[in-house]
């Protein structure tokens, strides 16, 4: 349950030409900036990244200052330590750290991130769970969208097929790409799932957004831990809160990071598939 009820109420009132929304200025007290950490280790052999930044004021312009002098390491449960260096290519944004060496995360292993900023130490641990395979993707014409497309020519959707292992407790995060750019139905959408209510066959679930002829669609599926599921679920609630009228009061997502840092350190197995829209 998120803002939907508010939309419904708005719909009822709008049906009689009422309901009104306007931008207001919050003069709320702004607190000291907090450390924000975001990191991802996958089972792919590559340079993995960690981003360290600071939060800003609610009305800031989005240039959150990257932290350039942090010490960042990831250690697996075998005792292997991977050092990260700040923006080695000089091509990335400030606060962007890459592992010195390429490495691939191992299914079943846990990884511990340590970020040291000045005298403050932030750590997080996550475990790499297996992920099920994507059986196939399918292109399908969405008739409603075809009749009345929001963007001209964009009325194909991508259907997703997979088998959900029933004997394990699994959590997933999805990313959808249209010609290599991330695709969200709404800028507050987070695509994640647990398998509590899922049967084995995942047959023909539409992914986000619509495609036109000639587009290339790609789906990435990440395994996440229960902690990761909770983080993304809380993040989604926060991004879509109605301010606490019908929904719970907004709250910071529960993270695996210590020392009250914001963000999340995610460890995932990842599979992907792509299909041309033709």
């Amino acid at each position: 349950m998120n803002k939907n009820i508010l939309y419904l109420l708005a719909l009822i009132t709008a049906a009689s030409l009422m309901g009104c929304e306007e931008t207001v200025v919050l003069d709320s007290e702004q607190v000291q900036s907090k450390i924000v950490i975001e990191g991802l280790v996958t089972d792919q052999e590559k340079h993995h990244y960690v981003k360290v930044s600071r939060s800003g004021e609610f009305y800031s312009n989005g240039n959150f200052s990257g932290v350039v002098d942090a010490a960042v390491t990831v250690e697996d449960d075998q005792g292997n330590v991977f050092n990260y260096v700040h923006n080695p290519s000089g091509m990335d944004d400030e606060g962007y750290y890459l592992s010195e060496d390429v490495f691939a995360g191992q299914v079943g292993s846990s990884y511990k991130l340590t970020v040291t900023v000045g005298s403050e130490i932030y750590t997080a641990t996550d475990v790499l769970n297996p992920v099920t395979a994507i059986d196939s993707l399918e292109v399908s014409l969405n008739e409603e969208e075809y009749d009345d497309p929001e963007d001209e020519g964009y009325f194909y959707e991508i259907l997703f097929y997979a088998k959900e292992p029933q004997e394990t407790e699994d959590y997933y995060l999805f990313k959808f790409y249209r010609n290599d750019s991330l695709l969200l139905d709404s800028e507050t959408d987070v695509y994640y799932a647990n398998d509590d209510l899922l049967g084995e066959s995942i047959d023909g679930i539409p992914t986000a957004g619509f495609y036109k002829l000639g587009d290339r669609a790609r789906v990435e599926m990440y395994s996440i831990s229960r902690q990761g599921y909770i983080y993304y679920n809380d993040l989604s609630s926060l991004l879509n809160t109605d301010g606490g009228m019908f929904t719970p009061p907004p709250a910071n997502p529960r993270s695996n990071l210590t020392n009250a840092a914001l963000g999340y350190f995610q460890v995932s197995a990842v599979v992907s598939d792509s299909i041309a829209v033709e």
Binding site: M1, S28, N63, T188, D203, R226, I230, F246, P250, R254
Partner: protein, 788 residues
């Protein structure tokens, strides 16, 4: 065992005490029912005053009174607001029954001559912290979409706070919305809202009487912490067939009532349905919304000693979107009552009550189709007795047994191809026994006491599995250490609580009094919601292995004063309420379809205090009230807001209301209301950060640390009663309403989003803005009513 001993103790106490009175001097009893002379409806709260002895009583909620007096000649005065006073000479030499009929006071436009009644309930009645609603006045007041709604008037009472317009929730003296016990013909209504709260389920056409208890709650009521809203429907005219109909802007109503056997039995049936969807359908809209209500009641007065009533309410909201997604919810309640006189002084009401609340969501789709249902059922047996011992003592006692079944959720696929599998959150069952005993005792002309207690024995029973957690407060790493299995009706957990109730009234002079009260209330049904306003998709849970009963202690003191021959009633009350184990939930709690819900429970302390002023005028051309409330409500709960105290999300420091109607002549009358309150607290961001490539995330620091802007609104109405009514069998009137007359944009809530233009296209994905939603601008409406 504690309960048995307590029961015995109370029983012995009452027996000893009754026998003491049976030895008193020979007395005779006058009893009977007070009725409306026009339609035969029993009248509640009619004062019966014995002029010679300067003592009196009032009819109970079933219209019955009894007085025990020594032999002699008496003048009995029956009076009630809105009715002509009736005087009766009695020569008492044996037990007598007087069923009295009070003629309706025809509102005369000449200034009312005041009868100078010696009795006025505001000052003399022992009850405090109680508000009655005059349904006739509610109908003349301005109403949203022209639908008169008692809940909207209740929200204007002193000590009552609303979370915003367009909601049917109300918050009494620091209590949350689920701490109100809302009864229709004694059956609880679990969700009193239509259209997410735009209207309440109460159809004004069938309401006879409604009252709100906020403190000093009598021992016969229990189960919720903060208030009792008792709504009683009409029994139906037992003299002649009649009816009413109304066509409003949003809904239409129809009501028919009449005798089945004259003076013996009668019926009433009424229906209401919104019809915006019919217009929308005609306009080609596929998103359809409607609600309806049905109230039906029959009664049969076998003789003066045996009367039977059966009442039914059912109502439902139905939403449909493009034929693929839909949901609906509704209440059904049924009450069967038997009023019986065991003897002249022992009045009994036996009730069988059933209440059902359920909701369903359905999504019709090949791959993602599902059907989700949830329901809650309650079955009660209640035996309530009034023993009119003498003019100094009125005893009430009784036994209530309730069985509840909670089905929090079941989900099933709607097609073979659906990704969903059938899943069910297990049911909860509870048994609730209560016995109570209370006495109202007139110590002297000045002092009246009311004292009693209610013993509640609440059992969470099987069939159920209870998970034992490694750490019940850890909602992230949930580890089941063990599972306890309980069989059908096997006791899982028993909670025994004694709820003392006390009230006292001291008359300073015939026009003013001081009252004090204390009550303890226990609540064993908990709403699983952490929003400010409950929604129909919330579920309820009994007190259980993990969830402890909520306990409230409230003390209140008040000064009551009447002016101008009782036409002006004034009161000032102050209260302090302390709640233990108030049910709340962890930050980020997952309350839907969570089989490990106990890990989200967080119970703690809540406290509230306030001052309430009320000035009311009940008779004359101008009637109405003005109320002012100052109050503060806080909570402190481990695991919520880092364990720091925070303001309740329905806390408002100042609330000021004026409600009034004015009869200009026999053609026009006018109504108006004005409300002003300080904003309620909400949680807003104290900063922002970016996560991933896209997400602009608010940083939250303090729960409820920001106040919404002040709330104020004026509504106006005019009622036109055509003069030609006099010459015809049916009467009609027009009610014109202007809701939010000066079109104030009152904040409903505030949320944040990335900067967008009016069409919702993103202007700048790196900048966020706060958006305030307000629901209603100025809103005119017309309702046409007929009565026959």
């Amino acid at each position: 065992m504690v309960p048995t001993n307590l029961t015995k103790f109370l029983l012995i106490l009452s027996l000893v005490w009754l026998s003491q009175y049976s030895q008193a001097q020979q007395k005779y009893t006058i009893n009977g029912y007070a009725k409306d002379a026009e339609n035969g409806e029993e009248l509640i709260g009619v004062t019966v005053y014995v002029n010679e002895l300067k003592v009196g009583t009032a009819t109970n909620v079933y219209g019955f009174y009894a007085l025990s007096l020594p032999a002699g000649d008496y003048t009995l005065i029956f009076s009630s607001v809105g009715y002509k006073t009736v005087t009766k000479q009695v020569s008492l030499t044996k037990n007598e029954t007087f069923n009295i009929e009070l003629p309706v006071e025809v509102t005369s436009l000449d200034e009312i001559v005041i009868s100078g009644d010696p009795i006025d309930a505001n000052v003399t009645d022992i009850t405090m912290s109680r508000n009655e609603l005059d349904i006739k006045q509610v109908k003349k007041l301005p109403a949203l979409f022209g639908e008169p709604d008692i809940i909207k008037t209740i929200q204007m009472m002193p000590g009552v706070i609303t979370a915003g317009e367009g909601t049917s929730s109300f918050f009494v003296r620091g209590g949350s919305a689920d701490q109100n016990l809302i009864l229709i013909d004694e059956a609880p209504v679990y969700d009193p809202s239509h259209l997410f709260g735009l209207f309440s389920v109460f159809n004004a056409d069938v309401i006879k009487d409604s009252e709100l208890y906020k403190g000093g709650i009598p021992a016969r009521y229990g189960g919720r912490l903060s208030s009792i809203l008792e709504v009683r429907t009409k029994d139906g005219n037992n003299k002649k067939i009649g009816g009413a109909a109304g066509i409003g802007t949003l809904a239409s109503r129809f009501m028919l009532e009449g005798p089945i056997r004259k003076e013996k039995s009668s019926f009433i049936i009424s229906g209401r349905r919104s019809y915006a969807d019919l217009f929308l359908k005609a306009a080609g809209q596929e998103n359809l919304v409607h609600f309806y209500d049905v109230n039906a009641k029959v009664n049969w007065k076998h003789n003066n000693n045996n009367r039977f009533f059966a009442a039914l309410y059912l109502g439902r909201d139905v939403f449909n979107f493009d034929d693929t997604f839909g949901f609906d919810w509704g209440n059904i309640t049924g009450t069967f009552r038997w009023n019986h006189l065991f003897n002249d002084r022992l009045f009994s009401n036996t009730s069988l009550i059933v209440s059902n609340f359920d909701y369903a969501l359905e999504f019709d789709d090949d791959a993602q189709g599902f059907n989700w249902t949830s329901n809650l059922q309650e079955f009660s047996f209640k035996e309530d007795l009034n023993y009119f011992i003498n003019t100094r003592n009125e005893l009430e006692f009784g036994y209530h047994l309730t069985y509840r079944r909670f089905s929090p959720g079941e989900i099933s696929p709607t097609s073979e191809a659906s990704i969903f599998e059938t899943q069910e959150i297990q049911n909860d069952y509870a048994l609730d026994h209560s016995i109570y005993l209370g006495n109202e005792q007139r110590l002297s002309d000045r002092i009246t006491l009311s004292y009693g207690a209610r013993l509640s024995i609440f059992q969470n029973v099987g069939k159920s599995d209870v998970y034992i957690y490694e750490d019940p407060q850890d909602n992230i790493d949930i580890v089941h250490k063990d599972t306890l299995h309980y069989d059908h009706l096997e006791n899982i957990k028993t909670y025994v609580n004694l709820e003392p109730r006390f009230a006292a009234r001291f008359m300073i002079n015939p026009r003013s009094s001081v009252k004090v009260s204390y009550n303890r209330m226990v609540q064993n049904t908990h709403l699983i919601s952490s929003g400010t306003v409950p929604i129909p998709f919330n579920t309820w849970s009994p007190s259980n292995y993990y969830l402890k009963p909520q306990l409230a202690d409230q003390v209140a003191v008040g000064y009551f004063r009447n002016f101008k021959d009782n036409t002006l009633e004034f009161s000032v009350e102050s209260y302090y309420k302390d709640i233990d184990n108030v049910t709340d939930f962890a930050d980020n709690a997952q309350l839907f379809f969570n089989k490990d819900l106990p890990t989200e429970y967080r119970q703690g302390d809540s406290w509230s205090y306030g001052l309430e002023l009320m000035l009311q005028k009940k008779e004359g051309r101008f009637t109405g009230f003005a109320s002012y409330t100052w109050s503060k409500t806080e909570r402190k709960i481990d695991g919520v807001n880092l364990g720091r105290p925070f303001l309740a999300n329905y806390d408002r420091r100042h609330v000021f209301n004026i409600v009034g109607t004015y009869d200009l002549n026999d053609k026009w009358s006018f109504g108006g209301s004005l409300t002003y309150s300080t904003g309620r607290p909400i949680t807003v961001p104290a900063g922002r950060y970016k996560y991933g490539d896209t997400y602009q995330v608010d940083y939250i620091s303090e729960r409820n640390g920001y106040l919404l802007p002040d709330f104020h609104r004026m509504d106006l109405s005019a009622t036109l009663t055509p003069r030609k009514n006099k010459d015809r069998k049916w009467k009609s009137n027009w009610v014109f309403s202007l809701y939010n007359a000066y079109s104030r944009k009152n904040a409903f809530t505030i949320y944040t989003r990335v900067q967008q233009d009016d069409e919702g296209n993103i202007i700048n994905g790196d900048v966020k803005e706060a958006r305030m939603i307000s629901l209603f601008p100025v809103l005119p409406s017309v309702t046409y009513n007929i009565q026959f």
